[in-house]
């Protein structure tokens, strides 16, 4: 009985800790409260299951604690998304292992409800393995170990379907017949395969959604493992985590105007026909002319089977390299600096006179590690008396709130950061807008270009601003593969192409 009371109190403490995280000021305390509740939960478990004399668990805990703390304190802020994904996966893996143990009947008395226990144990294995493998793939993609583009194998959908059927069959089999090594191992392999197949075909811009979905899954896995071993605290906290991940996923899906299913299944087909996910091709430039994503072109591509698309992609890649080489030559002839479009005004002069500036950061800022340079720009502008604000699109970056963290790292006060709804009407009033490594989130094509992946996605109204300074790496379409009309606007657009850090430094020095 007292166990149940303690579980309830600790679960409430966790909830309180989370609700404290809704305000910046109380968030540190909230995090510590959740951590303390967790610590108490661990201690309570140790006492109540009478396992204090089992020495191996302490050794294992110390090893894990050392590794975890070391990774957390050593990691750079830029590595945050992959680190979150990695930790997440490990939690899922742990749940899967707990599932295996319970299924094999290790570490528990003979259960009163054997069917329920076996069912939840199998489910924990499935969800846990999907989380583990999916997160590892996601982390690998974010860390650039794996290809960041959506990878689609021949017969990918069929394999996915088969692995789903296999998983369901194994769960049923496991529920009916307990303690079989064979079933447990097969379940680990088949569900892991599904996790791999589903994560490998997600690329670039869909990463934030995938990560928060996996986050949700790891909570659900924990919760189900809790059901299997009959631990209330585990069920409760897992449920909370599951809900939060799902909510974040939902928020981001809405922000991108895409359904979850289309990202997980249909999305891959669409994105694989877009030859140029922005972030993968850092060295390649100027694919723009080659792939105006005409509707016909897309249709044609979609008709081709996956293998041919791959071949085509390779050919295109070679072409873009060639084009970028030519471009570089051209730029050299012109005397470097892909210059501003208008005659007298330069980005620096516009910013010099601007009193109201809005900065729009995107993943490019994260890639170029330009947040500290951005901070210098802000300081300089504010020193001249300008009002500087940031417009943050809900899906800018590679995880929810990615931009906020980077800007916070650069000491930019969070009062200056505004969500899309709060600032969207101010773009037309602003004297200047600086875009740093963002593309799709401000693409006005999203409002009218029907049939494109971003159609209907709410975007920042950058196109309504009088003066727009674009500090992007290049002009090729973003991840969604849709041309951005802002780049070709006649007046009031200044393109500063290249590494955001360098172009920004140049502007700062000229102001």
């Amino acid at each position: 009985m007292i166990q149940i009371v303690i579980s309830i109190v600790l679960s409430l403490a966790v909830l309180a800790g989370i609700s404290m995280m809704s305000k910046v000021k109380s968030s540190v305390a909230g995090n510590l409260l959740s951590a303390c509740a967790m610590l108490c939960g661990v201690i309570a478990t140790l006492c109540f299951s009478h396992v204090l004399s089992a020495w191996t668990i302490f050794v294992a805990m110390i090893i894990g604690a050392l590794i975890g703390s070391l990774m957390a304190s050593r990691a750079q802020m830029i590595q945050m998304p992959q680190l979150v994904a990695l930790f997440n996966g490990l939690g899922g893996g742990a749940s899967a292992l707990v599932g295996v143990m319970t299924y094999m009947g290790w570490g528990m008395e003979a259960p009163e409800y054997p069917m329920f226990v076996r069912f939840t144990a199998m489910l924990a294995i499935a969800v846990g393995m999907i989380t583990l493998v999916g997160s590892l793939v996601a982390a690998g993609k974010l860390h650039r170990i794996l290809n960041q583009r959506p990878v689609v194998y021949a017969g990918h959908s069929l394999m996915t379907l088969l692995s789903i059927i296999g998983s369901v069959a194994l769960i049923v089999l496991g529920t009916l017949y307990g303690q079989s090594w064979c079933v447990a191992l097969c379940a680990l392999i088949v569900t892991g395969l599904f996790g791999y197949l589903f994560a490998i075909r997600v690329g670039g811009a869909d990463m934030p959604i995938t990560i928060s979905l996996l986050n949700s899954l790891s909570g659900v896995a924990g919760s189900i493992a809790g059901m299997a071993i009959g631990d209330l605290f585990l069920v409760a906290v897992g449920g909370i985590v599951g809900a939060s991940g799902l909510l974040l996923t939902q928020i981001m899906c809405r922000a991108m105007n895409r359904s979850l299913m289309s990202i997980l299944l249909g999305g891959a087909k669409k994105s694989s026909s877009k030859p140029q996910p922005q972030q993968t091709l850092k060295t390649e430039e100027g694919g723009k002319t080659v792939f105006a994503p005409e509707a016909d072109f897309e249709k044609l591509l979609e008709q081709l089977n996956d293998m041919e698309v791959q071949q085509l992609l390779n050919a295109i890649e070679a072409l873009t390299k060639e084009v970028s080489g030519l471009r570089a030559e051209l730029a050299q002839q012109k005397g470097a600096a892909p210059a501003a479009k208008t005659e007298e005004k330069t980005p620096a002069s516009v910013l010099r006179d601007a009193k109201d500036v809005i900065i729009v950061p995107g993943y490019g800022m994260a890639l170029a590690q330009a947040q500290h340079t951005v901070k210098q720009l802000v300081d300089k502008l504010e020193y001249k008396g300008a009002n500087v604000r940031f417009a943050i699109h809900p899906v800018a970056g590679r995880m929810p709130g990615h931009m906020n963290v980077l800007l916070a790292e650069a000491d930019i006060p969070y009062e200056k950061l505004f969500e899309m709804e709060a600032i969207n009407d101010d773009f037309q009033k602003a004297d200047a807008v600086v875009v740093i490594g963002a593309n799709d989130v401000l693409n006005p094509a999203a409002r009218h270009a029907e049939g494109t992946p971003i159609y209907g996605m709410p975007v920042l109204n950058v196109d309504q601003a009088k003066e727009v300074i674009v500090c992007n790496f290049d002009l090729k379409p973003g991840y969604a593969g849709v041309e951005n009309p802002i780049y070709t606007r006649e007046t009031g657009v200044y393109l500063c192409l290249g590494d955001a850090k360098e172009t920004l430094m140049k502007i700062i020095n000229e102001i």
Binding site: N31, L32, T45, I67, F87, I229, P400, G401
Partner: protein, 98 residues
């Protein structure tokens, strides 16, 4: 053992409660929230601990130990790493206030 229906009910209640509380978190804090949640998902450590402990005490064999200890190591990495990162991130947001 607690009745399965109670467990499922607890799961549902917590899901709903979590959903409503988390809805109030501004997108500014979504990354720390996510990484905090991530740390919390390591709560499966609790399950790994009790299962491994009991397995050791009741002599369930070497494989139970291997699986259990790996589970504990993974879960503790998740917990410590997750809370550590979240703490670092939140401190950055609060730097100016100190």
């Amino acid at each position: 053992m607690i009745h399965p229906l109670i467990l499922v009910a607890v799961f549902i209640v917590c899901t709903v409660a979590g959903y409503f509380i988390i809805r109030q978190v501004p997108s500014l804090l979504h990354t720390p929230l996510m990484s905090g949640m991530n740390a919390l998902s390591g709560v499966t450590l609790v399950g790994a601990l009790s299962a491994t402990g009991i397995a050791l005490l009741s002599g369930d064999g070497i494989w139970a130990q291997v699986f259990g200890c790996v589970a504990i190591v993974l879960a503790t990495i998740n917990v410590f790493g997750g809370f550590g990162i979240t703490h670092r991130m939140l401190r950055m947001f609060n730097k100016k206030k100190k």
